[in-house]
């Protein structure tokens, strides 16, 4: 039986949150470089050049790619057959992830961007709590995926409950409209995660999960949704918003769509906007 040591989870997460915040992964860099070739606007080209220069400096100097080093969001898949080892005084897996986040944000000189109460707004001082989504899966898998989610792009996201009659067109128009409304705010070129179906909360979770798909720009295995992704990317890139909203061909790097069964009376859809600083990293034990 696979044994998962809480201390090891904590230590791995401490490194993971730093690495994700200092280094854009190759799949993201590759898409950005491809898009640089397609960009026609001089301002857009200059922006993409700065984004690539920034990635080099951040990696070399271990500096945050962006000063908004995000909420620490985790998706944890735990196999039903793994054994959990509560070592080093860590009483729960949540504690292990929280401690790893706290230590990583401190050690990496990352920004603490969490307030303890949404209305009274006092900073918690250590970038916790971590935002953890648990998934129990068969077997002895233990996989953690981290995304550093900045506020600027997250704020441009949306959920809408459609009547089924709105159909595919309704959903696609909603995605394009959400990107258009976001304009220059979410630091385009953006990554667009779309969740279709499920219910109110599930659609939002699907949209976030869609962002996590690797490599960036790969397509849904269902050809119907793969086609939708291609069409949406083209429509969003025709908006003209361009890198940083200064006008240009490249407004989005990728669109990922995930779908799930839903109620006969509803068709929820969620759009989670992510910026070019797409900081996603996983590990398995």
């Amino acid at each position: 039986m696979k044994v998962i040591s809480f201390a090891k989870v904590r230590d791995t997460i401490k490194d993971l949150v730093q690495k994700a915040n200092f280094e854009l992964q190759d799949d993201v860099l590759n898409v950005i470089k491809e898009m640089e070739k397609k960009e026609e606007s001089p301002a857009g080209k200059e922006v993409i050049k700065q984004i690539l220069d920034n990635a080099k400096i951040a990696k070399k100097d271990k500096l945050g790619l962006c000063q908004d080093t995000g909420l620490a969001v985790f998706f944890v898949e735990i196999g039903e057959d793994v054994e959990l080892q509560k070592d080093d005084g860590l009483k729960s897996l949540r504690d292990a992830i929280t401690e790893g986040t706290r230590a990583g944000y401190e050690e990496g000189y990352l920004r603490k961007s969490v307030v303890e109460d949404p209305i009274r707004r006092k900073n918690t001082g250590d970038n916790t709590p971590a935002y953890i989504h648990w998934e129990l899966v068969p077997g002895d898998v233990f996989k953690v995926t981290f995304i550093a989610k900045g506020g600027g792009a997250e704020n441009m996201s949306a959920v809408r409950m459609f009547a089924p009659a709105a159909g595919q067109q309704g959903i696609e128009d909603f995605v394009v409209e959400t990107a258009d409304k976001g304009g220059s705010n979410p630091c385009p070129p953006i990554v667009v995660g779309v969740g279709v179906g499920g219910n109110f909360e599930y659609s939002a979770l699907l949209a976030k999960k869609a962002l996590l798909r690797r490599p960036l720009g790969s397509h849904n295995s269902d050809p119907f949704y793969a086609d939708m992704e291609k069409r949406l990317l083209e429509r969003i890139n025709n908006l003209g918003i361009g890198p940083q909203g200064m006008g240009g061909r490249i407004t989005a790097l990728a669109v990922h769509v995930e779908a799930f069964p839903c109620h006969i009376a509803s068709m929820p859809a969620a759009v989670n906007i992510q910026c070019h600083s797409h900081r996603v990293l996983s590990f398995e034990m």
């Binding site: 920034n54 790619l65 000063q67 603490k112 600027g152 220059s184 705010n185």
Partner: protein, 184 residues
């Protein structure tokens, strides 16, 4: 797309030369401030009290940097989204603030106040905080240290890169850029 090297404090004559789409390199001092610091500044104005900084001729940079590593003046320091400061900007322009730096579009009141008080809105590249930090030579907290990343800092900058989004003549790079490349 003209290029200008400008120094702070900024005069009306300098602002008059700037057009939406121009590239700017700033040398001198910038003051940082975002949501909470702005709220405090505006409260002081409303109470008729003196501000901890004299904004006349100055530029405010909307940024909440990451902590500095030992030996560095500042951490990653790119712009934050500006619309959250829209309700505060006109008051500061009326006190002589000549520019703000952030990212993302401003509302009509801010654009009108640029025209009225001769000021500009500039953008730095969001998500390029590591690169931008290289043009910051010194940083000093001068007000509200309790706000952490949101404290007001004075930054000494050299050739700090940005682009004019809104000039004092109504020019708007976001609108013009989008129109140019939009395909219906």
């Amino acid at each position: 797309m003209a290029e200008h090297r400008i120094e702070t404090p900024v005069s009306d004559e300098t602002v008059e030369k700037l057009r939406a789409g121009d590239r700017i390199f700033i040398t001198g001092y910038l003051y940082t401030g975002r949501d909470s610091a702005h709220k405090k500044l505006i409260e002081l104005v409303e109470e008729g009290k003196e501000l901890p900084i004299d904004v006349k001729g100055q530029i405010i940079y909307y940024v909440g940097p990451t902590p500095a590593r030992p030996g560095n003046p500042i951490g990653s320091a790119g712009p934050t989204t500006s619309y959250r400061m829209d309700s505060f900007a006109p008051t500061l322009h009326s006190l002589g603030l000549k520019g703000t730096i952030g990212k993302g579009s401003r509302n009509q009141e801010v654009k009108d106040s640029l025209r009225k008080f001769k000021a500009v809105y500039l953008a730095a590249v969001g998500g390029a905080g590591a690169l931008i930090s290289k043009s910051i030579e010194e940083a000093e907290v001068i007000a509200y240290p309790e706000l952490g990343p949101e404290a007001i800092r004075r930054l000494k900058v050299k050739d700090f890169p940005c682009i004019v989004i809104n000039d004092m003549y109504g020019g708007d790079l976001y609108e013009e850029g989008k129109k140019k490349y939009r395909k219906e």
